[in-house]
Symmetry: C2
Subunit: 184 residues, 2 copies
């Protein structure tokens, strides 16, 4: 039985979660699949593309049903889902953010955020700026949070400065600004 692209991505996520991003090399992944490094290039054009696929899959696996009925409740839900998705795998935030930086993968969350803000009655311009702002917030916070979490679990620092509500508080700051504009 031969491998498919999804097998490579699945195994890549396994290596990522178990050994971290710095250990996720093409050679290491190939060894894990009992295959020559060159064999991977029949399923994926290069490492960057593989990492983008990994990022997409991490985000996809974190999807949850929508519950909130207000637009701002939905924003909190969306951002929380994205954060949890990234935190679910070691170095997940790093991978997703890097992929997004290069314009690859993980485009679905920002699209959904934008739709949500448009439905709230914001202009296309304000909605787009707000969607990007919120995404930057979620990305920045989560990378920092995950770095701190992984540092503490490695025994480097004793306690992290992250309360469970720290994320929501940053979010609320932006939402306050948005709620003003919605009412206009």
């Amino acid at each position: 039985m031969r491998y498919h692209r999804s097998d490579i991505v699945d195994r890549a996520i396994g290596v990522l979660d178990e050994y971290g991003l710095e250990s996720l090399t093409m050679r290491r992944l190939a060894a894990e699949l009992d295959v020559q490094p060159s064999a991977l290039y029949h399923h994926v054009p290069n490492k960057q593309t593989l990492l983008a696929a990994v990022a997409d899959e991490i985000v996809r696996r974190g999807r949850r049903p929508r519950r909130a009925e207000t637009w701002d409740g939905r924003v909190v839900e969306l951002c929380g889902e994205l954060r949890d998705a990234m935190l679910a795998y070691r170095d997940g935030a790093e991978v997703v953010v890097t992929a997004h930086t290069f314009g690859l993968g993980a485009r679905e969350p920002v699209a959904e955020l934008r739709r949500c803000l448009r439905d709230a009655g914001l202009t296309e311009e304000v909605g787009d700026v707000a969607a990007r702002t919120l995404l930057h917030l979620v990305f920045g916070h989560t990378v920092e949070e995950q770095t701190a979490l992984q540092a503490t679990s490695a025994g480097a620092i004793d306690r992290s400065p992250w309360g469970p509500t720290d994320f929501e508080r940053g979010l609320d700051l932006v939402l306050d600004g948005l709620r003003c504009r919605v009412r206009d």
Copy 2:
């Protein structure tokens, strides 16, 4: 005449700006200084530390005199200065953000931001959350902006979606939320 640490950092910024982050290798930098790669390790313990020093220097070179008299004007000034500092060198945003992610370098801007928000009368808690939120915003926006700018100058895309006021608009969103809290 022997090299000093600052010579290595200066030259590293030169290589970064001219050839980009992917070309800034220890071996390339050594060649540029007409020295063996191993010689660099007498001035810097490893590449990560060197990049943190590069990040600090990029931020330091961007410093400008303070003019604003209101606290929110000062926040805009501070964030604008940091953005301009990172945009001044090729891949500058990437380098500064990465260093910050690993808890190295570029700690001064966030400290100044925090002082500014405390002086505005915010509680220590809200001020800290806000300072991090603003930093994430500046970092996220600027990395994206620089990637777009460098892509267009490489001829990949024709026009960028970044108006000159796009940055300030995202900032204003957060500032609106903060201004509400200051008045309480």
